[in-house]
């Protein structure tokens, strides 16, 4: 998909909570062996944090990099699967907190881990059509996981915000095009009213994550006439350390183009925040002219693939707000009992 | 203006009165006060009720009406005064005005409070409710956290140790040992204070008031009438009020306590009484540090010297300036709305020679200081022995 008018990212920001729990600590509690842990540690939202508070932090850093006034933002879209309110938008709270209200569109998006990139697509369309000058897409989660379940080792907290505008001198990276591949594939879900999701084990691999990721990437490259070697970086959804690298191998993309985006070893799977943070980590280091492949994945299932081309102004703008690496080094380790308390896993 | 006398007092012990409701406490103190003056309920021309938490904790509004009714008084003036911890003294101030200006003759002031039958957390919220609720409510900023900022500033500015400031509570407890109405009539050591739970660093639980129940009543009338009735009495020579910003952040300095200085100055200037004339002082020490600061702002010693007064023993009953002669807020106890009236009761007992083992020798003039919100409202009442 290519918008009639060129659109690009003019600002981006991330936020990762300070707390970390080592997967070896979780393993200790549930009697799991240490050899088989999918990540080293994951980020844990503090007792006073949730998807809304993380979204606000990321949004403000995005505005700082964009260098625009919040009143100018025409849409605030928050994609998450850990909405504090099942009904009542996160996006209105974020919009009010950043000062974008009242002349603003606001909505929450849900598509498991690709809610953020769904918001990307909507923002691109809104901006390209000229309906709004600036649209902000946020992907954020404080993911839930059943105690002792495999997901407990990876379900992390964090998010990122991206502001889109028509391509101009302020553009950090413009969108060459996007491609979405969506089917109805029930690999992972959470029913209304349920605390924890269900996942279908190995079914979440080939028929779900890999199929949609690969098909979206191939579809994008075919439509844009690009080859894997045209990309300097590739950002995939990071449910664990292995999946993104395996997807890259399927596509013929070398590991070292993927590794700069991989934060899951220390942050875990931030669900809707995963692609956001991965993309931001790359923007933190990319050079003008670099082409970035972003392929998100959301259970249910689908992938959004994008090609971004980095512009000159990235060198100046990236320093306006804290980088992903800063958030990675900003950490405080907690044990399982504090983790259970923070994440409301203790029956009161 | 007529001279105003306090002719009688009645009070309950400060305690957890599981068996008594607010009405029960009120009636007990009121009847005792009337009995001690040999007056009937019918002789009252009106009453002031001092209370802070009946609405918040008991759900009871319209308190003065309800309490006057419980005393069987349907047809006389009754009004409730809420000014946080200063309520009792402010109620006395209002009654003083009534009597002094000939509006009423025989007026009872009764402070009553019931704080015991709720959770510790609710007490903290209740105490914090005197601050602005529009923005502070539920934020976790408690009255203890604000007191801690004052405490830390005091320790730093004057280079004092917390153990020395905590002596305020030690002195309180020493005086309470022989006080029959005290909540905690036993010795308390600095070691015990310093090993008690931290409320908000550095404040320890045992240097702060505990929730209590109690009721204290005084009966006031024109001096001439007191003489006529042949009642042993004291004069309320002056009652001065001053206010300051209750938002600590708007004050120019956390320790300035302008209202306390102002009220004291006006009390001294309007009467010609000086700090050295005082036979004893009843301070509002809801926190030990607030008591120490009060010693200084009342002119009993210089800035930063409050701790020396505590250490050198001058504040004991036998010293040059006895302080909190029945145990003060910490040891006699602090049923919040009633505190100012308990202080007046104690001044009366001292000045009429009825303080028993707590008697200050030759007590002639006594000062009570009652405050709300870290001295955002201060009432200073000066009492003089008479006839």
């Amino acid at each position: 998909m290519r918008p009639d008018d060129d659109v690009g990212i003019i600002g981006y920001g991330v936020y990762i909570p300070i707390y970390r729990i080592k997967t070896s600590e979780i393993a200790k509690v549930w009697g799991k062996l240490n050899d088989d842990l999918p990540v080293e540690e994951k980020a844990v939202a503090g007792p006073d944090e949730d998807a809304v508070t993380i979204a606000i932090e990321a949004a403000k850093y995005a505005i700082r990099r964009a260098g625009i006034r919040p009143e100018e933002i025409g849409a605030v879209y928050v994609g998450t699967e850990s909405k504090p309110y099942a009904v009542k938008p996160c996006s209105t709270i974020v919009a009010e907190a950043i000062g974008a209200t009242p002349n603003v569109l606001a909505a929450d998006y849900e598509f498991a881990c690709k809610a953020g990139t769904e918001a990307f697509q909507a923002s691109i369309g809104l901006v390209a059509s000229g309906m709004v000058e600036y649209a902000m897409a946020i992907g954020v989660d404080t993911a839930q996981s059943r105690p002792a379940d495999a997901l407990e080792y990876t379900s992390g907290s964090g998010g990122g915000a991206f502001i889109f505008a028509k391509k101009n001198d302020e553009t950090i990276a413009y969108v060459e095009g996007s491609y979405s591949f969506v089917t109805d594939t029930p690999d992972f879900w959470r029913r209304d009213g349920e605390r924890y999701p269900y996942h279908m084990g190995r079914f979440t691999g080939e028929p779900a994550y890999f199929r949609h990721t690969i098909m979206a990437a191939k579809g994008l490259m075919s439509e844009l006439g690009l080859r894997p070697s045209d990309f300097s970086y590739a950002v995939f959804h990071q449910p664990n350390y292995r999946f993104p690298l395996k997807a890259a191998r399927y596509l013929g993309i070398p590991d070292d183009k993927v590794k700069p985006s991989l934060v899951c070893l220390n942050v875990g799977n931030t669900y809707s925040g995963s692609s956001m943070i991965g993309l931001a980590a790359v923007l933190d280091v990319a050079k003008p002219g670099d082409r970035i492949l972003l392929v998100s994945y959301g259970s249910g299932a689908g992938s959004d693939a994008f090609s971004f081309v980095v512009q000159d102004i990235i060198e100046e703008k990236r320093d306006r707000a804290p980088k992903v690496s800063t958030f990675l080094s900003r950490r405080r380790e907690i044990n399982y009992s504090l983790y259970a308390k923070f994440r409301n896993k203790i029956l009161m | 203006m007529r001279e105003v006398a306090v002719v009688s007092v009645g009070y309950t012990r400060v305690s957890e009165h599981w068996e008594k409701s607010i009405k029960g406490l009120f009636v007990e103190a009121a009847l005792k006060a009337l009995e001690n003056a040999d007056l009937s309920v019918r002789s009252l021309d009106g009453m002031y009720v001092a209370n802070v938490f009946a609405g918040y904790l008991q759900g009871q509004t319209n308190l003065a009406n309800v309490l006057a009714d419980s005393l069987g008084v349907y047809d006389k003036f009754a009004i409730s005064i809420d000014a946080g911890g200063a309520s009792g003294a402010l109620a006395i101030h209002e009654a003083y005005k009534d009597v002094a200006h000939g509006v009423r003759d025989v007026v009872m002031v009764c402070g009553v409070e019931k704080m015991s039958e709720t959770s510790p957390q609710e007490v903290v919220s209740a105490l914090t409710s005197v601050a602005d609720q529009e923005y502070l409510r539920y934020t976790g900023i408690t009255v203890h956290s604000l007191a801690a900022l004052i405490y830390k500033t005091y320790l730093r500015r004057f280079n004092k140790k917390q153990e020395d400031v905590a002596l305020m509570s030690v002195v309180d407890h020493e005086h309470a040992i022989t006080c029959s109405h005290a909540q905690y009539p036993f010795k308390l050591s600095v070691e015990a204070i310093m090993s008690s739970a931290i409320l908000a660093d550095p404040i320890r639980a045992l240097e702060v008031i505990s929730p209590s129940d109690g009721s204290a009543a005084i009966i006031m009338c024109p001096h001439e009438k007191a003489k006529e009735l042949g009642l042993s009495h004291v004069k309320l020579v002056t009652s001065q009020i001053a206010r300051d910003k209750f938002n600590l952040m708007e004050r120019d300095d956390l320790l300035s306590m302008k209202a306390l200085i102002e009220a004291a100055q006006r009390a001294y200037n309007s009467t010609g009484i000086t700090p050295s004339d005082l036979s004893f002082v009843e301070l509002y020490d809801d926190y030990s540090v607030m008591g120490v600061i009060a010693l200084e702002k009342l002119g009993l010693c210089g800035p930063g010297e409050g701790v020396e007064l505590l250490k050198n023993g001058e504040v004991k009953l036998s010293g040059s300036i006895p302080v909190n002669t029945f145990g003060g807020l910490k040891a006699r106890g602090a049923p919040l709305g009633a505190v100012g009236v308990y202080q007046a009761v104690e001044a009366y007992l001292q000045l009429t020679g009825n303080a028993g083992p707590n008697q200050v020798k030759n007590a002639r003039i006594g000062l009570t200081q009652t405050s709300c919100g870290f001295n955002s409202i201060v009432v200073i009442n000066l009492f003089e022995a008479c006839c």
Binding site: D48, V52 | P120, Q121, T139, H144, A148, D201, E250
Partner: protein, 131 residues
Amino acid sequence: MATSAYWRTRLQRYRLMGNKCSTCNKIFFPPRLVCPYCGSVKLSESKLPERGRLVDYTVVYSAPECYETVIPYVVGLVELENGVKIVAPITDVDVNEVEEGMEVELTIRRLPEQLEGGMICYTYKFRPVIK
């Protein structure tokens, strides 16, 4: 907390919106209705700076209602970049690692649950600056 009471104060909670007396230029947070210095009612919106210095702090152990599971926590006195002082909870700090003089910045955080299934209250706190 009543929904409308929370909603009325949202700009203060979310954006640190105070006000300023047009006559004597004093800045207030929370905003005032009448200037206590000159009596003027001509007060205009004035957003406070989001950064400041932690001038003093205390660690609270004695919980008010709803905070039983949150203690201990830090309450700090922050002097903002324009000199205005504000008392606020300090978050993302270990109670043993707070230091006077720390540079702090505004963060919007969630208050403890008051009523299960009830309205969620977000309000201002401060955390160490992330550079």
